[in-house]
């Protein structure tokens, strides 16, 4: 059976991709951020996941306002990146895992989440930048992935509680997948930032650190936030926290933080990287 071995949550700011393209990893501004990924690479090398489920938000590459899904799941054999308009080099395609995609689609629909399914899907910086951070050697070296998107562009957004339960449904879908494989969850986005309005540049370190604490042992505190509270405390684009909340919902066994790093600012954003170990419930029962 498939097993969720843990999760990695990270900011996905486009300028990280720009810094990678320009080779600025050792530049004084960027070094503290990129150095935080050394322990993440060690974790990946130790745990060797086979496939990733990447929960993120599209920023106007694959989806436009003509058809805006609240929850969408990629069901393709591979995923292409493309020009987003502001000069990030286009990355080579990433491999998919359509069998796991359909497991998630079938089993999540059975739990009453009505998904949009995408047999073709372009992945934007919110998918590509974290993949580059985790597998710097490129698309061919990265493990196959299933992209899952949550609308964060157009209100009404799904409530945090709903995102948490969506994550729970994904977790159950993965853990009932008959293939023997180790699954890592990725959540990308956040933490606090605001790009628009006269409050642009808003960052809230205190709230970000609170989120990074609660997400380990008290995720319900995050799931209980209203959208308005999240925007007030994390900025209008801080709603990307929903992706972290869904990721956390997918881990219903014992969760512990293996690594955690907060760094301000990454461009306009409270930059955060966390790694979680997950011990599924069935394994704990077996051990008792």
């Amino acid at each position: 059976m498939a097993r969720i071995i843990g999760a990695i949550a990270t900011s996905h700011v486009p300028s990280i991709g720009g810094a990678i393209a320009k080779g600025l990893q050792k530049d004084p501004y960027w070094k503290p951020f990129f150095d935080a990924f050394d322990p993440v690479h060690d974790w990946l090398a130790r745990n060797k996941p086979d496939v990733a489920v990447v929960i993120y938000n599209d920023h106007g590459l694959n989806f436009f306002l003509d058809q805006m899904p609240t929850f969408a799941v990629g069901a393709a054999e591979s995923y292409t990146n493309a020009d987003e308009g502001w000069g990030l080099p286009v990355r080579p395609p990433y491999a998919g895992d359509s069998e796991l995609s359909w497991q998630i689609i079938d089993k999540v629909m059975a739990q009453d989440f009505d998904l949009v399914t995408c047999q073709e899907m372009q992945v934007d910086h919110a998918f590509v930048v974290p993949m580059q951070l985790l597998w710097p050697d490129g698309g061919a070296k990265a493990i196959p992935a299933v992209p899952v998107t949550i609308n964060s562009i157009q209100h009404p957004l799904p409530r945090a509680e709903r995102c948490f339960r969506f994550g729970q449904a994904i977790g159950r879908a993965i853990e009932s997948f008959p293939r023997d494989c180790k699954v890592v969850l990725l959540a990308t986005g956040g933490l606090s930032h605001q790009l628009d309005g006269t409050r642009a540049g808003f960052i809230n370190k205190e709230f970000d650190l609170w989120c990074m604490d609660k997400i380990v042992n008290d995720p319900q505190a995050l799931a209980s936030l209203t959208t308005k509270e999240i925007i007030e405390k994390a900025g209008s684009q801080g709603v990307e926290l929903m992706c972290w909340i869904a990721m956390r919902g997918a881990m219903q066994g014992h969760v512990s933080a293996a690594f955690s790093k907060y760094h301000i600012p990454v461009s306009n954003t409270g930059g955060a990287v966390m790694v979680f170990d997950h011990e599924p419930v069935v394994h704990r029962l077996a051990a008792e």
Partner: protein, 114 residues
Amino acid sequence: MDDQFNIPGTPIFDGTQARKGYALNKMCYSFNDELNRKTFLADEEAYMRTYGLSEPQKEAIRHRNVLELIAAGGNIYYLAKFAGIFGLGVQDVGAQQTGMSLEAFKEMLTAHGH
């Protein structure tokens, strides 16, 4: 800008804005494509007509003014693609909206870390 959340300085892109801004956002979405960016630059007025922008939207585009673009229904994620045509990033956009110099805006961001 009146919306259900009413958070100062914080536009909410909801149904009202989505309806108002559709043509503008659709044009900005087209800027994902390099050919479209070039076509726009070659004749901005013709390009805006093709997408059926309203007069306030056209004015906001002519002014390169982000707050005006948002007031005209623009969504920041698509507007970022418009800004990208001129090599401007989210920090430039932030500086313009807050009336700060780019340097002052960056200093403010860094100060959040302390």
